[in-house]
Symmetry: C2
Subunit: 174 residues, 2 copies
């Protein structure tokens, strides 16, 4: 162990291997179920994520979508462009910040997004179902505060603030 | 809340949204660092994952690679094929199971894989570094037993058994 380090090489490798296997497994399952959910609306996961973020933040910049959607800025822009061409969102510039592209849902975008939410069937969410044994033991779904701490150190406080805003918005509207 | 269910629609949605945002954020960061790590060896993440699984399980079937690598069987096969063309692995059939394609590393494959391990620099692993504040508080990296429980219910006991085997193998050889 290096004197400047608080971990050994092996310990760090074992930890990141385990994290990779667990988060890949869970994310890939969520990704698959999400794709299936929004496919009937002719949307892919990234397009739906753009709508989701824009809906719950009541408008967002491309850079916010990129950050919270964990997608490259060009990916966020390209999928937003497709949604604009379908008349689901509009682009604009803000008076006080001409550099940022600001995205808002059109009435049609709001309608389509709300239709996707109405169609959400938790029974088809494998990760949620695989978490029910934990919920039955503890009385509630796990909180994952350790994951939150890691994400906070990876992406900054802002990421968790947006997560909180989007969760509060979901609570209000569902 | 439906009488047959132990959760409400809203609760399930909030939980899966939070899980998606957290696991996507962490997996995407691990994925990026992993790609950077193995790029100098002209390997992509999937190819390296095939080598990893084959090395630590001392040979594996395509279906084991697909399962533990969380990739489609055809993806596992196609990347294995590329590694075979580079002389890093060989394909064979087992006498007692003619249907399964069995993958083994060649000497060259073992050498290249071990070179990638020697080149692993924990300082470039953002998720590991973002976990150090937790390690400093608790004295060790988080165990994530709840994530393990979810993965067990998603992919079966076998997934965690392979994870254990691969972790024991890493402990022995590093």
């Amino acid at each position: 162990m290096n004197n400047n380090q608080t971990y050994s090489w092996q310990e760090a490798l074992l930890y990141s291997h385990k994290m990779a296997q667990l988060t890949k497994a869970i994310w890939k399952s969520l990704e698959k179920d999400w794709q299936e959910w929004v496919k009937p609306f002719d949307l892919n996961l990234n397009e739906h994520h753009v709508l989701w973020i824009t809906y719950h933040l009541r408008g967002a910049t491309i850079s916010e979508i990129s950050k919270f959607g964990v997608m490259h800025v060009s990916t966020a822009f390209n999928f937003s462009k497709k949604l604009e061409q379908r008349g689901l969102i509009t682009f604009s510039k803000k008076e006080d910040d001409k550099r940022s592209t600001y995205v808002k849902l059109t009435d049609e975008g709001v309608r389509l997004f709300e239709q996707t939410m109405d169609a959400h069937d938790p029974e088809r969410n494998s990760v949620m179902k695989a978490s029910l044994p934990l919920k039955n033991i503890y009385g509630s779904f796990p909180e994952f505060q350790e994951l939150e701490s890691i994400v906070k150190h990876l992406y900054g406080d802002e990421y968790l603030e947006i997560l909180d805003r989007s969760i509060e918005s979901l609570k209000d509207e569902t």
